[in-house]
């Protein structure tokens, strides 16, 4: 079954076809929600909300168009609504084991610190900047798709990405200075 066929069947009320779409996109939807909110339970709730809204409104979806940006747009809206409802976006990413522990302990520590610093820098971005960064690099969407998902024009997306890069560079630079001082 192709994505287009699945959408067409969903528009006729076929739940199995919707299951196909859920299983295809649940990873990126949940992961994006998690990266935006930093909270597993809320991310799961938002992912469910996004899929339920997609099912409910799928008859408005224009067949033949890419489904992912449309779905991610619903998710982004749910995240924004969630932020206004609960102000959760500043919640730090939950702790856990970082991958790469099997490396050389010294290298692994350095690599882990670098990743941790970048991750903290990402978490410190404003929601608007984090949103475009997560959609662009985690969800692996093009600038055009990010624009569609975020409800922005492409120029605004590019501008936000540029500013996000600047902010990340600045934060990484600050972090290295702090780390250097500690060493």
């Amino acid at each position: 079954m192709t994505e287009n066929e699945a959408v067409q069947r969903c528009q006729s009320g076929d739940r199995e076809a919707f299951r196909y779409l859920v299983e295809r996109y649940q990873g990126v939807v949940f992961g994006t929600a998690y990266n935006m909110t930093g909270n597993r339970a809320i991310a799961e709730e938002l992912a469910q909300e996004a899929f339920l809204s997609a099912w409910k409104g799928i008859r408005t979806f224009r067949r033949g168009r890419p489904f992912k940006p449309w779905l991610m747009r619903i998710l982004v809206n749910a995240v924004m609504s969630q932020r206004r409802r609960r102000s959760v976006v500043t919640t730090p990413i939950e702790g856990g084991d970082w991958p790469g522990d099997a490396e050389d302990p010294a290298d692994a520590l350095e690599s882990r610190l670098e990743r941790q610093t970048l991750q903290q820098a990402i978490e410190g971005l404003s929601l608007e900047h984090r949103q475009v960064v997560v959609l662009r690099y985690f969800a692996e969407m093009s600038v055009q798709e990010v624009a569609r998902a975020a409800g922005l024009n492409e120029g605004t997306v590019k501008s936000r990405l540029h500013r996000a890069h600047q902010a990340l560079r600045q934060r990484l630079s600050d972090g290295q200075e702090v780390a250097g001082g500690q060493r």
Binding site: R19, Q26, F30, G57, S81, R84, I93, W98, Q119
Partner: protein, 715 residues
């Protein structure tokens, strides 16, 4: 920008590697389907705009030619010997049938933006409360008192039912279809006196069945046009679409723009206590109709709810609060609330009931509602009061006319009980006689307050249909004891909101909408009637002068037809509001503030002016516009956040009638729905809150929400 590109590319690489490595430590994806499967409900039907959009693309194996979109955009259908017009929005604010082509439609130029004058100086001294006959020193910036939330003004009887279809609504949907009224023909003078005219259906935002299609949900009446394509809406296989009742007339007003305070720092508007626009929307939603954006006046939605303001013994209790904007980061919303004193005037009344006995009143239970309201008013009067009754149809029904009688007079009781529909509507004739009778009573009893109460669906199809022409022709002399023209609207289809609203606004009165008999009785039961018939401020208006050191830009939410020039503020005009005992007016502003706004003494100065009904003397009151604190959690003042949600819902939805994009509106409405959902614990026990939630749900349902097509491909 170009010098940063290498750095951007490096950062892109870092981020791609970062996310690809799993360094964000996203937990394993849960089995969403296992949870979702049991929660999948019914799907929304395909809206009209999507149907039209997909014409030209394969739909269920049938490919429509693009030219059919044009065919669908305007279809004229002959049904049973009459003409029914269908206009279908074609997107982008265009579409619809040109006014010149539609016999039931009147389009006039849109309202121009208000004149922006030079900024008014804001010296430090102006920040102090200044003197007038009534001062407000103590109440300036006082926070809202707890009060009794959710009870709207004095006539709170409108909130006592769950949002289920009313008898009126159900009967209207099933009622036989009357012949469409004659097209409204405004006078040139009226057209000039108002830059914008009434927007009778169809509007560009939605499908508009003609009058003969009332009761036939869907785009086409059964049988459909002979040349309609198979599978097109109205035929089997496609979902039904939200309908709209025929022959409704609403005024389209241009929303106020965001104004730089450096260019114009004065906001002047008439106060308002009407809540008809929200009641109309509620009744339409209950009946299954899509709410017409042109019917939405945000101030009447906001003022439909009670925010528990504290009142004073004299003058207005003033409350101001600031919150972060629920929709736009970096902006704020300011609420200013004005509460009139609760002073019942214990004096005689002269009441003239002008009852619509025309054929359009036959629909639904309009006559029963009008009869119940008239009888409730009669019962609420004292023996010292006097009452006259006029029935009008093509002309006045002289046999049912009662003049200057005691409320308990048998002739009055019989006349009200005899209200029944007859022929066409001649509001002018009814009002002419009503005003003559009221004026005669006023001359006999100059100490009495004088009310002329028009009960009608507003469809005036004989003589004038223009409210200003009616008012001009109705010789209502002004003076210290004016005639107060109250309008009471009933019905859904064949309803002229514009006529009734403007008659009241320009007739020293107020406008109410009734949707069933119980509500009619509750609205005019004695306690409410005593308050409604006790004016405490005539020609009331307010002016906010912004402190440009604190406020960068401002925008008033709603009040489009009540905003007036700064110069008119000092003039006593009868189009300004008549405020009765205990009535509250709330206004919301969207603000952009300077970063250091907290360091200034306030956001501006509020001045209210009105005429004292007893003395006929002008009065003024001033106070600072202050913010007690920047409210954070919604739970601290849920009614404040609720009011903001109501204001923004109405404001954003009303934009659909003009240049508003359905995508932005859909997004904003869903965000506001989230805000309102979060207030359930605090406000869910209030019927008024539940009614608003219901209306908001229907708006969200009916507003499309998909990203704009910016792919670059042609359609």
């Amino acid at each position: 920008m170009s010098t940063n590109e290498p750095n951007d590319r490096e950062m892109e690489r870092l981020l791609e590697e970062h996310f690809a490595s799993g360094a964000t430590n996203v937990p394993p994806t849960p089995d969403l389907w296992g949870t979702l499967e049991s929660r999948l409900g019914a799907q929304d039907p395909k809206p009209l705009w999507a149907v039209l959009r997909d014409i030209g693309t394969p739909v269920d194996g049938f490919r429509f030619a693009p030219a059919l979109a044009a065919t669908a955009a305007v279809a004229v259908v002959a049904v049973a010997g009459g003409s029914v017009w269908f206009a279908v929005g074609s997107g982008g604010g265009g579409g619809g049938v040109p006014a010149s082509q539609n016999p039931d439609t009147l389009f006039l130029p849109a309202s121009p933006a208000p004149t922006i004058g030079e900024p008014t100086p804001m010296p430090e001294a102006m920040m102090e409360d200044s003197a007038g006959p009534i001062e407000n020193q103590g109440a300036a910036g006082a926070p809202g008192a707890p009060g009794i939330p959710g009870v709207a003004g004095v006539d709170d009887g409108q909130y006592f039912a769950e949002p289920t279809p009313t008898p009126e609504a159900m009967m209207e949907r099933a009622a036989p279809t009357p012949a469409p009224p004659a097209p409204p023909t405004p006078t040139p003078a009226a057209a000039q006196s108002r830059a914008a005219g009434p927007t009778a259906t169809p509007a560009p935002w939605a499908l508009v069945p003609g009058p003969a299609a009332e009761g036939s949900p869907g785009l086409f009446v059964p049988g459909g046009p002979a040349d309609a394509p198979p599978g097109f809406p109205g035929f089997p296989g496609l979902p039904e679409l939200p309908p709209e009742p025929g022959a409704t007339t609403f005024q389209e007003y241009e929303r106020q723009p965001l104004t730089e305070a450096s260019e114009d720092n004065v906001s002047t508007f008439s106060l308002d206590t009407d809540r008809t626009s929200f009641q109309l929307a509620l009744n339409w939603a209950r009946a299954g109709y899509q709410v017409n954006p042109a019917s939405v006046r945000a101030e009447e939605w906001v003022n439909a709810f009670d925010y528990g303001y504290a009142s004073r013994d004299s003058g207005f209790g003033v409350t101001s609060d600031l919150i972060a904007h629920p929709l736009e980061s970096g902006r704020y919303m300011l609420r200013v609330g004005l509460k009139a004193p609760e002073t019942v005037i214990d004096g005689p009344l002269n009441v003239t009931l002008v009852l619509d006995a025309s054929g359009s009143m036959r629909e639904g239970n309009r006559v029963a509602i009008a009869r119940a309201a008239a009888e409730a008013i009669r019962r609420s009067l004292d023996e010292d009061d006097r009452i006259s009754v006029v029935h009008f149809t093509t002309d006045v029904l002289e046999r049912l006319t009662v003049t200057n009688a005691s409320p308990d007079d048998r002739a009055v009781v019989d006349s009200i009980a005899s209200l029944a529909p007859h022929d066409s509507t001649n509001v002018q004739a009814g009002l002419d006689l009503g005003v003559q009778l009221a004026d005669a009573m006023r001359r006999q009893r100059p100490e009495a307050l004088n009310y002329v109460i028009l009960m009608s669906d507003g469809v005036a199809n004989v003589d004038s249909t223009d409210p200003f022409a009616i008012l001009e022709a109705t010789s209502a002399p002004d003076g210290a004891n004016p005639l107060r023209l109250v309008t009471v609207g009933v019905g859904i289809a064949n309803y002229n909101d514009y006529l009734l609203e403007q008659l009241a606004q320009n007739g020293n009165g107020w406008y109410r909408y009734l949707f069933d008999e119980e509500q009619a009785r509750a609205t005019f039961q004695r306690d409410n009637w005593l308050a409604l018939s006790s004016p405490v401020a005539d020609q009331a208006r307010a002016q906010v002068t912004w402190n440009t050191d604190a406020v960068k830009a401002w925008r008033i939410v709603g009040y489009e037809n009540r905003v007036t020039s700064a110069e008119s503020f000092t003039q006593d005009r009868k189009e300004f509001a008549e405020i009765y005992s205990g009535a509250a007016t709330t206004v919301f502003y969207e603000l952009e503030l300077h970063d250091d706004f907290r360091e200034h003494r306030g956001l501006g100065r509020l001045e209210v002016r009105w005429v004292d009904p007893k003395r006929g003397q002008p009065v003024r009151q001033t106070s600072s516009v202050w913010f007690g604190s920047e409210v954070g959690p919604q739970q601290e003042d849920p009614l404040l956040w609720f009011g903001a949600a109501v204001a923004l819902t109405a404001d954003r939805y009303s934009a659909l009638g003009g240049s508003g994009e359905s995508y932005n509106t859909g997004r904003d409405l869903r965000t506001l729905q989230g805000l309102v959902d979060n207030l359930q614990n605090e406000l869910g026990h209030l019927a008024a809150f539940r009614d608003f939630v219901y209306v908001l749900e229907t708006l969200v349902r009916d507003v499309p929400f998909v990203p704009p097509d910016d792919s670059g491909y042609s359609r």
